[in-house]
């Protein structure tokens, strides 16, 4: 009996012991791990190159980076010279052709990058000597060749197009240009013109001037021995000639005197990109550096920051909202940002401003501050012993002129910051009354509510140039489809002049893939038309329509016209607007931008035509065509109207095909001559 009771008790005890983990109690951290801050070994070459080495043999790999601390350089009307010099580095040396160089580097399986500021990568440690040697040859003995420049230039030009239409990309560019000014290195951005201004000698000069060892750091981390590195680096980098890079003056950015909104219209945007910024001068050695970091952390440092909790967790307006602030020897900026759906753009601006105001006015709670400190300290602890961090910290110490005790005292200094100091830093670095709010979004949907905020709004285009307010207008009730068509007819010469036109013959020339494409188009007032497209003297395609039926000859194959194509031709004519006036189906569908100007949108069956609001001229036409079962909308732009035989004809037509603009220019236009019946057989 006793024994079984005993067993029962034991069972009870063990069961309840297991069940007894009290899940309602959040576990307390154990004793904080000790941070052992390693120092790299280092040496300096006579030419000025500083080498930092962190030995770590955990993995058979070496990471290295040659970093040039030259500071921002102004490129001005040759913006892009830095990018191009960087992309030409590593494309061959005086001893190795580009193919030989790439072949050798790729062989070792290393992953590498080249630029005039930073060159490095990672390699298996057994190949480190060979890879370092190749890198040294690549950066110290480069050959810049004209054909490589042209090839990289073409890539860079196409590269800027990749993000051309992206609201995020536009927002990033415009924000920096406005905050820093276009005359400041941080505000400059790539333009087609500036890229085209760059010559081979500009590249050579830029490389010669800035690729110098005075402020250069070579950081090597991983499976190496210090003694071996010293020998390797000395033999590979001693030939680098001692020199310092020049410091060029440029205007320092200044803050606004009153908060304003800078708006950029991106008509296709489904989200608004909002950023709220001001210029900041905060050095890592400033006494309020840590207080400023913590103020930013509380405001928008992460998923527990006030911006995130407000805009995302409380409202569900955004995937995330954050702010950032850093210490730097150069001028930098404070920016809070969010991407939000169109409908809540104004509300998001209000809440972001509200959070900035709150952190300036109210002391944070002790819990807020403790949380922010814990995050900084935790992240410092977690990273401090990683070899890459040891190297990074050592580089910072040198490039930002930090005292030798900076990182030893890091945790102590973070923990010493008070509530009042955070508040003072917020007041000093977040300019509530002088913020630049950049909003990039769809004017038609977000502008009316932004205007209601009573903050002055300035308008910019996607290159940060001041522009007019985008018109988000309703059509005046006095304007009808008929009045738009009548104005067009009047402005190209009037009905009487059109009546006198019996035939037109127009020759267009376009450049397609570097070749000339010629199109001869002939039309009669009675509704006949023909088109002949040729390249290099060879007829590629011919279409003929006699008013009733038509055919198409493409590379010798003849095909009768049917369906939509035939209908479209029947409704056409020299000036189809005269027919459209008589049709009851033509409707006005609003005002939209075509290029930079407003235009009335007129819908006629499957066609949509745009007439400039001011000039009345036809500026664009859209047709929806069926291609392999897919509905494709093709837009043609018209411009450069010139008078021929009493009526105005567009001498420039631009059609976008597969993302490429094909521009057709009129080289010859004749009215009432050059057309015979033979053209329509």
């Amino acid at each position: 009996m006793k024994k079984s009771l005993y067993i029962f008790l034991v069972l009870l005890l063990s069961v309840s012991m297991q069940a007894q983990v009290d899940r309602s109690v959040q576990p307390k951290p154990g004793p904080a791990p000790k941070v052992n801050l390693g120092k790299p070994q280092s040496f300096k070459l006579p030419n000025g190159l500083t080498v930092l080495v962190v030995e770590n043999h955990k993995l058979p790999q070496v990471n290295f980076n040659l970093y040039l601390d030259n500071g921002p350089t102004l490129e001005g009307n040759k913006k892009g010279v830095d990018d191009l010099a960087s992309s030409l580095l590593g494309t061959g040396t005086s001893k190795l052709s580009k193919d030989q160089f790439n072949e050798k580097l790729d062989y070792y399986g290393a992953s590498l990058f080249f630029s005039v500021h930073s060159t490095g990568g990672s390699t298996l440690s057994r190949y480190f000597p060979e890879v370092l040697n190749l890198i040294a040859q690549g950066v110290l003995d480069p050959v810049f060749r004209g054909d490589e420049l042209e090839s990289e230039r073409a890539k860079l030009l196409d590269g800027i197009k990749v993000g051309e239409k992206s609201a995020q990309e536009i927002a990033g560019r415009v924000r920096k240009a406005l905050v820093y000014g276009k005359g400041n290195p941080s505000g400059e951005f790539l333009r087609e013109e500036t890229i085209n201004n760059i010559s081979l000698s500009d590249i050579q000069e830029y490389y010669k001037t800035y690729f110098v060892p005075e402020n250069a750091y070579l950081v090597i981390v991983g499976d190496v021995k210090f003694g071996d590195v010293k020998k390797l680096v000395t033999s590979n980098f001693s030939s680098w000639k001692k020199a310092a890079s020049p410091k060029k003056a440029y205007p320092e950015p200044v803050n606004l005197t009153a908060t304003e909104i800078d708006f950029v219209d991106v008509p296709h945007a489904v989200q608004s990109e909002i950023s709220v910024s001001n210029v900041v001068n905060l050095k890592m050695t400033d006494p309020d550096y840590f207080a400023a970091l913590l103020a930013n952390q509380i405001l928008g440092g992460g998923g527990e920051g006030r911006l995130f909790l407000n805009l995302r967790e409380a409202h569900g307006w955004t995937y995330g909202s954050y702010s950032r602030l850093r210490g730097d020897k150069h001028t930098s900026d404070f920016t809070a940002s969010a991407s939000v759906r169109n409908a809540v753009t104004d509300s998001a601006v209000v809440e972001m401003l509200g959070e900035i105001k709150r952190i300036r006015i109210e002391l944070p709670t002790q819990a807020d501050l403790d949380l922010a400190k814990a995050k900084y300290v935790g992240s410092f602890v977690m990273n401090a012993e990683k070899p890459a961090t040891i190297a990074n910290l050592a580089t910072y110490e040198k490039t930002q002129s930090l005292p030798a005790t900076f990182y030893q005292d890091y945790i102590k200094n973070i923990n010493a910051v008070t509530l009042e100091q955070v508040n003072a830093a917020a007041k000093k670095y977040f300019m509530y009354d002088a913020l630049r709010i950049v909003v990039v979004g769809k004017a038609a949907e977000v502008l009316p509510s932004l205007e209601a905020l009573n903050i002055p709004i300035k308008y910019y285009d996607k290159y940060a140039d001041a522009t007019e307010k985008p018109s988000v207008k309703d059509v005046d009730p006095n304007v009808t489809a008929t009045s738009v068509l009548e104005k067009y007819i009047r402005n190209i010469g009037g009905l009487q002049a059109i009546d006198k036109v019996n035939t037109v013959a127009i020759t267009y020339v376009a450049k397609v893939q570097g070749q000339e494409m010629k199109t001869v188009s002939k039309q009669t007032a009675s509704g006949k038309s023909s088109q002949e497209v040729s390249m290099m003297g060879m007829v590629m395609a011919r279409t003929v329509f006699d008013g009733e039926k038509g055919f198409m000859v493409v590379q010798g194959q003849k095909k009768e016209m049917t369906g939509d194509v035939l209908e479209a031709l029947k409704s056409g004519g020299i000036i189809p607007e005269t027919k459209m006036l008589k049709s009851g189906d033509v409707k006005i569908a609003g005002i939209e931008k075509v290029g930079d100007n407003d235009a009335y949108k007129i819908v006629d069956g499957k066609k949509t035509i745009f007439y400039d609001q001011a000039t009345g001229l036809k500026v664009a036409e859209e047709a929806t065509v069926d291609m392999e079962g897919q509905q494709i909308t093709q837009r043609t732009l018209f411009g450069d109207y010139r008078e021929v035989g009493g009526i105005k004809i567009p001498f420039k037509q631009t059609t976008n095909m597969m993302g490429m603009d094909i521009e057709m220019n009129v080289t010859d236009a004749k009215v009432n001559e050059g057309v015979s019946d033979a053209d329509f057989k």
Partner: protein, 439 residues
Amino acid sequence: MKKIFLSLGLLFMGGVGVVSAQHIEFEEYTLSNGLHVILHQDKSVPVVTTSVMYHVGAKDEQPDRTGFAHFFEHLLFEGTENIGRGDWFKIVSANGGQNNANTSDDRTYYYETFPSNNLQLSLWMEAERMLHPVINQIGVDTQREVVKEEKRLGVDNRPYGRLFEAVKSNIFKHHPYRWTTIGDMDHIDAATLAEFQAFFKKFYIPNNAVLVVAGDFDKAQAKKWIDEYFASIPKGADIVRKQYTEEPITKQINAKFEDENIQIPMLLNVYRTPSFKERDTYALDLVSDVLSSGKSSRLYRRLVDKEKTALDVSSFIYPQEDYGTYFIYGLPMTGKTMEDMQISIDEEVNRICTELITEDEYQKLLNKVENSVVSQNSSTDGVAHNLATYYLLYKDVNLINKEIDIYRSITREEIRDVAKKYLKPNQRLVLDYVPKNAE
């Protein structure tokens, strides 16, 4: 012990160059409720990562509820019976940690990284999440909007953001891989609280998950805590998964997709490939290296360097649990056409299908693969993720050390043969991903 020996060995041999990729030590066991546990100790830095991978992803969704698995992932940050709403991130930060989660078609992954004195906290948090998260209407309503913003940000407003949508809908006809992980706006709108609760009950069970602890910790202590927090979580009903089979593609699929956020079109050739568990996937990975890894690779050198028809060209395999997809893509230079690129791509693909790669190319491949395998396991959170993936999806956790040997065992002949088997013109999708003329 073995580990100490190994690192000493490395120390001695460092720089000499005999050592090959590292060996990852780990220990694994299964709790009675079916939760699999993997421990990987690495005391080199005072950091510990705790992660849980659940075998549920977008491919387990209903066709009218796409995006559901990812939406659900968001709900698991909303709070638990013992963690208040909005406190999850605060607790992590207040203890100096970092955390996140992500969802793919195959699985959902949650992780926290803390200074090493917070292992118990992270185990408690993941157990809270597995045992009794609070899934309620306010969470659903908030996260519904957040997820929709994530879609606008990452997909709808981003250049080339809808590329996967365009590819997947063409490559897969029956398999749930045919829809995207982020899902359709309409489906995200339609998802209900009751559906989320049912989803949790079905998939978020210990016998459908793996728990990994990696980094600086005491093993006995860790096991005790794991037992305390996880052992009493009830086991769930076995999950019956539907198998989907795709008919082979036997005729080239031509498709076009318009994106209004882009200016430069993209040409894609996409092929369906087998599960990532198959050896062929490794060989195809090598094929993609020959074609486009590095500036001396075949496609890059030819299209970008020599012929200058492409601004960029690349190929890669996108490996998944049931089927993979092999991508080749190129962006034409201004004035060049898709056709210009296609001709050269076809010739290069044909060449790798018919001719052996050179000995030099082969050695280059092995060096490259070795470097990238080492990099993949260079951080503790990387190791944690790999261990979880190999166990749960590949069903062979030892792959973390064997992978490099599989690559090394693939011969030049096998590379040619696998290319020939999968990269046939009649088995591909040719997709023109083009700008939409909005302006």
